[in-house]
Symmetry: D2
Subunit: 148 residues, 4 copies
Amino acid sequence: MEPETVSTSEFSFSHRLRVRWAEVDRQGIVFNGHYLTYFDVGMTEYLRAIGIPYPDGLLEYDGDLFLVKATVEYKSPALYDDELDCHVRIGRIGTSSLQFLFELRRGHELLVKGENIYVNAHPVTRTPAPVHKAVRDAVIAFERVAPQ
Amino acid sequence: MEPETVSTSEFSFSHRLRVRWAEVDRQGIVFNGHYLTYFDVGMTEYLRAIGIPYPDGLLEYDGDLFLVKATVEYKSPALYDDELDCHVRIGRIGTSSLQFLFELRRGHELLVKGENIYVNAHPVTRTPAPVHKAVRDAVIAFERVAPQ
Amino acid sequence: MEPETVSTSEFSFSHRLRVRWAEVDRQGIVFNGHYLTYFDVGMTEYLRAIGIPYPDGLLEYDGDLFLVKATVEYKSPALYDDELDCHVRIGRIGTSSLQFLFELRRGHELLVKGENIYVNAHPVTRTPAPVHKAVRDAVIAFERVAPQ
Amino acid sequence: MEPETVSTSEFSFSHRLRVRWAEVDRQGIVFNGHYLTYFDVGMTEYLRAIGIPYPDGLLEYDGDLFLVKATVEYKSPALYDDELDCHVRIGRIGTSSLQFLFELRRGHELLVKGENIYVNAHPVTRTPAPVHKAVRDAVIAFERVAPQ
């Protein structure tokens, strides 16, 4: 498993975090499920950066995000006390869905890649609802690479 | 730190759980904060056993429990895959508070002791409220050692 | 998102667990990353069931498992205190990799599906190593549906 | 439960962190066990600040820290997305033990107080060992209020 050092130029946003002792397992590496927590933190900070803080910025438009699919590729493990950059972008905006892409890097080294697909749903009924134009516009204005 | 093997006869209840890989840190032992999760699971199962399932059984009487103080004594670490018995009892019932006592054991060996003090509060206003007579009676009927 | 109630007949194994309070978020549902913990518990119990307890049963053959890819499909959320059955099987055994498949169900209702691909690696060098014949044989003897 | 707004002038160190979605429970508040994770992060950053990074800075002197007692007082709950300051100081240095004191604040408001007592032990034998003079000196040089 060679370190990948692909450019991250397609990402407009990243958030730094540090691996906690409680997140590292007996193998000395971050437990696999915690990367989804890191991605969740990354998504939260991304949404703050585009001016739609989670969840209030979405609730204003009667929207909330529910994860429907997560895919995580583990290239190289993160270790205790590592400083990691969680790169986040929205790769696709559907009528009522959003695809978030994540790259977790230690310096230039790519450790973990992720793709989370969220459905936008009404916060109470939890039935799918169109992504509000204000959200869509904020994403498009922010992203370096236009979402599909 | 000698293993304590005190009798647990004052406990009317215990719940078995197994240490998960994700709960064990790089020292090969359960991370200290997770014992509070074990105690929380123990409290949940205790309340189910006395017929006041958490939280609905309390909400029925306009009550909910909020932790105000936790004390944990770490005697000996729990290890990955250990089967543990979480012994639970209520040691004291105040007007609007409950003291839960916990002993986490691997077989006879006492690993961790805990004391959690909860205030009973109104679920919406979150202001202290008397422990309902039905709850008090259920505890007293269940406990081997009468709570103070 | 209709509940799926597909047969689980292709699974030889399941493990029951109960959702903890600490695992449920403000939406009242299990946080998405915790399903990977449930799958990890399921994998551990599966390996115990086939007689190769994790990790010692693998270390005996100079093997350990490292996750390289996880895919999780969220159909319907698990709620606090739900009793869930984590169905586990091995769908594919490669030269040095294992594909685990998971279905998390509440009764017949399918909540979450998962696929974890592990590479078998030497525990110290962490370089890929062939899955030992004893492990392969134990899996094949146990599985109702022959792994590919 | 009135907010306490006691001065933190006795603390030489604080570390800021933000509450994650995954740390908040169905009551909308941080699950009680996670405060021990926050304190652990605080301790890590404190040790980095005094030049004895955990654990390598201690291992150099054949020391490691094992928690023997934790006491947590919950005054007011932390909420999702709160920015918190984890104030950390060492209140007492015994022959082979260290008392860490924690205050978790949102602005001036004191939310949670903690006291963790660690024993310094040999990393392999895990038997108590004197706190090394270099560690003791680094603490004393750093602390505003001399540890007892």
